[in-house]
Symmetry: C2
Subunit: 112 residues, 2 copies
């Protein structure tokens, strides 16, 4: 019976959430599928929820994270900007580093 340490990190921009684990999952799914509705399906969340998340991301970011197009060939779609891709990559890296850091810190409790 061992203790485990878990964490959730997120990034805020003037009191609004920019990125968290759920948002990063969504961005990755958009990158993979090329559309917001397909991304929502693949994550088993409603389109409404996905749209609200993405809207919030784009409103909080300093620069656009996705380009969304309505109508046209295939009805439209959504894709990550270079900035969006960089954000996702950086978030993942920070998250992994944080896990490693905390696993090490946990020893303080196990030794009690």
């Amino acid at each position: 019976m061992e203790y485990k340490i878990k964490s959730r990190i997120w990034i805020e921009s003037n009191e609004n959430v920019l990125l968290g684990e759920g948002r990063v999952h969504l961005l990755k799914a958009i990158q993979k599928t090329g559309s917001l509705s397909k991304a929502a399906k693949s994550l088993h969340i409603s389109y409404k929820k996905a749209w609200q998340l993405l809207d919030s991301v784009n409103k909080s970011a300093k620069k656009p994270v996705t380009i969304n197009s309505i109508g046209g060939k295939g009805g439209g779609g959504a894709e990550l900007t270079d900035y969006g891709k960089s954000l996702v990559k950086a978030f993942d890296e920070i998250n992994r580093n944080c896990w490693a850091f905390l696993d090490n810190e946990l020893k303080k409790i196990e030794s009690i």
Copy 2:
């Protein structure tokens, strides 16, 4: 307009949550007031919620975190064990260290 990084950490013991920020707040309030009901009032949460949290803490921990007494002088009360005090102290320290670590990591995003 700057980005900020936030985090929540918690400690689990075989799939059950042992400690998180809310539970640590509660334990500190118990330490200060000497009773679960007074602690609940001071945190503006219901007694029910406080009791459920504390029950869960004690069920997940390897050793008792509080000693609760029913009846007797003053009706009873609750107090932290030495183990409980150590857990609270260690959790706070890990949490502070995590914040500092993440603040430093955030620079990776600000430089994008």
